[in-house]
Symmetry: C2
């Protein structure tokens, strides 16, 4: 951020009075421009014993597999974001079950949230940001080709819970790979 | 948003190619300025059968009571945000328990997340944004003077769960008051 989105003047990075972190501040119109983490919302679409994954048609992680998910928009709920992203990326309609995982990814200023969900029909297809959309049984999950650690972590929790016969809610964090 | 924070040129509101929502776009440097919901993170600090509330010294809702909570910052986890806000607003140290509630507030573009937490000592005091910080037993909770519906909803879930002897995770949404 170099310019004030309110008045177009230059911004400086400084700690505003009463604050304790540097912010982009406009000395002309006095606007403080806060920057905050963004939420990535998605779901685990289930069909019998399979889950739906999307192969990414965009960077980052072009060509790798992911659960349908994307940035939450203003004006929607977390649940609406999960359904919208699933429709956009996999052209799939789901009925959401419980919220399943909330994972902080502090080094990229994101929080990823996944629901469990029931796929309502098999009329799915790649959306504009997907190369391919497919159902996978657990034995076929392409673990080394998953796009994000939040996705692999969520799926690991999912299969571990399924094995013990009950789904729990999971929260946690993904730290930078060493 | 009137000006581009990258180049200082004017922005226009339009739907970028491949998108389906209007965004603030700079026609000079081609930057698309996305705006996304923000997260408000806090906790329910418990001490024996009491919980800690803060009376707000800032707008909105000056003078009303709230759980310690505030905007999540870049670079931190949800759990770190809950502990930091509790320290800032109530000068209180807590050990977090489970994530307890995730509540969407779509009409203000926010998601509020609360943990249950154990107050580690009684050396709490009002932070800069609080007029007063006090422990309340359930019978003394100032329900009509709570600052936000996410706080009253979270506390209602908390006391309902406590009554049945087990805390569950809650997700939901707060719609505009009619």
């Amino acid at each position: 951020m170099k310019f004030c989105s309110n008045c177009g003047g230059p911004v400086v990075l400084k700690v505003p009075a009463g604050d304790n972190l540097p912010r982009h501040v406009c000395d002309a119109c006095l606007t403080i421009h806060y920057q905050n983490p963004r939420m990535v919302i998605g779901c685990i679409p289930e069909w019998e014993d399979q889950v739906l994954l999307c192969r990414r048609a965009i960077e980052p992680r072009y060509g790798l597999w992911t659960l349908p998910a994307g940035f939450m928009e203003n004006g929607e709920t977390v649940a609406q974001a999960a359904q919208r992203e699933t429709l956009e990326e996999a052209r799939a309609r789901v009925e959401l079950a419980d919220m399943f995982a909330v994972l902080s990814v502090p080094h990229v200023n994101q929080v990823h949230i996944f629901y469990r969900a029931r796929l309502l029909d098999l009329d799915f297809a790649p959306g504009a940001e997907s190369l391919e959309v497919r159902l996978f049984p657990e034995t076929a999950i392409p673990w080394p080709e998953l796009a994000f650690r939040t996705v692999s972590t969520t799926l690991r929790h999912y299969y571990a819970d399924r094995k013990v016969g009950g789904f729990a809610f999971h929260s946690g964090e993904i730290l930078p790979a060493r």
